[in-house]
């Protein structure tokens, strides 16, 4: 039981990161690589806030969300907007500029916090809950709850609200949306902002479950990508499913086969899913238009 909760908690972290990627992917068809770096910085800020500045849990949460928002916003204006607003668009050059921004954020974090992992004693989140066969941190339940809440919330928002539909319309055809009176640049900024807040919150949630470290980003990026590939790119539900399956394979794989095989098992799962379901579980149906 406690192992299952741990597995789902880790999976939920991956799911949250994948959700942040999906929010941007859905409106702009981009992978904002830098997102992983934002989460790493947010967790380092959470560490500093809790252990050095003596902030409480709620102010820290707020601080992380704002930090995620601000860093992602700046990153959008510096590395995404100048590349996408230029006509004609040069292929997928944004991949290069967002990877560049990722590297900058990670290197910046290393300069400030160093490259060693750091951990903090966190009120409430670090408390243990006894589950009969072992104990897990409260943070694990918080992670699972946040991932479920974010998934359900985003799913409903995209499907039911006017704004959510505007986001989907922009994703489908930005030029047509612009002609219909939709400020597509604002939609892009807003989706980066939502993703930034999600990344900031994810940063705080990660802290009690692992350690905070400057290069946490690249680890999370790859897991989030795998979660998206498994669940289907752009699928909100798929992100949760994908994140949880990675968490389960990692945790139980480490338990039964050996911890050193953990990343290899996830890799094998990715290859297997792509071979059987190349579009992912909730991926878009076969295109009809030719």
């Amino acid at each position: 039981m406690s192992l299952l909760v741990t597995a789902l908690a880790i999976g939920s972290v991956y799911a949250l990161v994948a959700l942040a990627y999906n929010v941007i992917y859905l409106t702009t068809n981009m992978f904002n690589f830098a997102q992983g770096g934002v989460i790493a910085v947010a967790s380092l800020i959470a560490y500093s806030a809790l252990s050095e500045w003596g902030l409480g849990l709620l102010p820290t949460l707020l601080l992380c969300a704002v930090a995620g928002l601000v860093i992602t916003g700046v990153q959008y204006y510096v590395s995404v907007l100048p590349v996408t607003s230029r006509a004609p668009r040069e292929g997928e050059i944004w991949l290069v500029s967002t990877v560049g921004a990722f590297v900058m954020i990670e290197a910046g974090a290393q300069l400030i916090w160093g490259s060693e992992p750091v951990g903090a004693r966190i009120p409430t989140l670090d408390d243990l809950v006894w589950l009969g066969d072992g104990s897990v941190k409260v943070a694990a339940f918080v992670a699972i709850g946040s991932a479920i809440a974010a998934t359900v919330g985003l799913d409903l928002w995209y499907g039911l609200t006017r704004l959510g539909k505007i986001f989907r319309a922009t994703a489908a055809d930005a030029d047509a949306a612009e002609v219909r009176g939709i400020d597509t640049r604002r939609v892009a900024v807003a989706s980066f902002a939502i993703a930034g807040v999600l990344a900031g919150i994810a940063g705080l949630i990660v802290l009690p479950l692992t350690f905070a470290r400057a290069d946490l980003g690249s680890l999370l990026v790859i897991k989030a990508f795998v979660a998206m590939a498994i669940g289907g790119f752009g699928s909100i539900r798929g992100a949760l499913l994908g994140g949880w399956s990675i968490g389960l394979v990692e945790t139980y794989g480490a338990q039964w086969i050996g911890a050193e095989y953990e990343p290899i098992l996830v890799f094998v799962m990715l290859i297997a899913v792509l071979l059987v379901l190349p579009r992912g579980v909730f991926g878009p149906p076969e295109g009809r238009q030719v």
Binding site: R162, K165, R180, D183
Partner: protein
Amino acid sequence: MTAEPLLRVRGLTAGYGEIQAVHDVDIEVRAGEIVTVLGGNGAGKTTLLGSVAGLVDVFAGEILLGDRPIGGLRPHVRARRGLALVQENKRVFRALSVRDNLVVATPRLAKAEFAAREQDVYELFGVLAEKRHDPAGSLSGGQQQMLAIGQALMAGPSVLMLDEPSAGLAPRLVAEVMDRVATIASRGLAVLLVEQAVHQALRVASRVYVLRLGRCAEQEGFRSADKQRLLDHIYLGAAADGGRT
């Protein structure tokens, strides 16, 4: 023709990158009019509408909506000020339902006002009402074209621009769409219609411009003119010079 022009284009030169596709074009559209722009392939019709809507770079000239210049504004701002464009190729949002397509095309409105406009579109295009919950991608080409026009109307525009609404439609549907366009104009909208379906477009037109190699001229007395001569003027001229585009 006493009404004030709702759309005025003066000395417009526009194109993509370094390529000029329309040169020094003057066009006026008044309330209640259907102004038809005819032209062969590559004459610059789509570029003309695109530059008025803000999708194409404008190098010189003036665009006035009512009496306000809209030249430097981004496309969505022009749309919100009452300029609606129905693009080529029925660019509706295929994954959204018919109704949601109308929702996203409407500015934030009171519920009653939205319902009234929606009802209006359904009255104009009855088939959309039946299919309001179907995804737009499941509609036929003609129905998608109607939805695209409906989307444009939801914003409550004063000027409606249509880029080849007949393209890819069966002849009977073309006539139906043109009739609806005439109805829309009769309510006081200024309609700028770009077409290749000459006969149908002339049937509803108030005035006609001919665009050739990016230059535009009004065609006087098109109703009485020999249509074959008009066609030759539009197409053969363009074809003879076509290699230089």
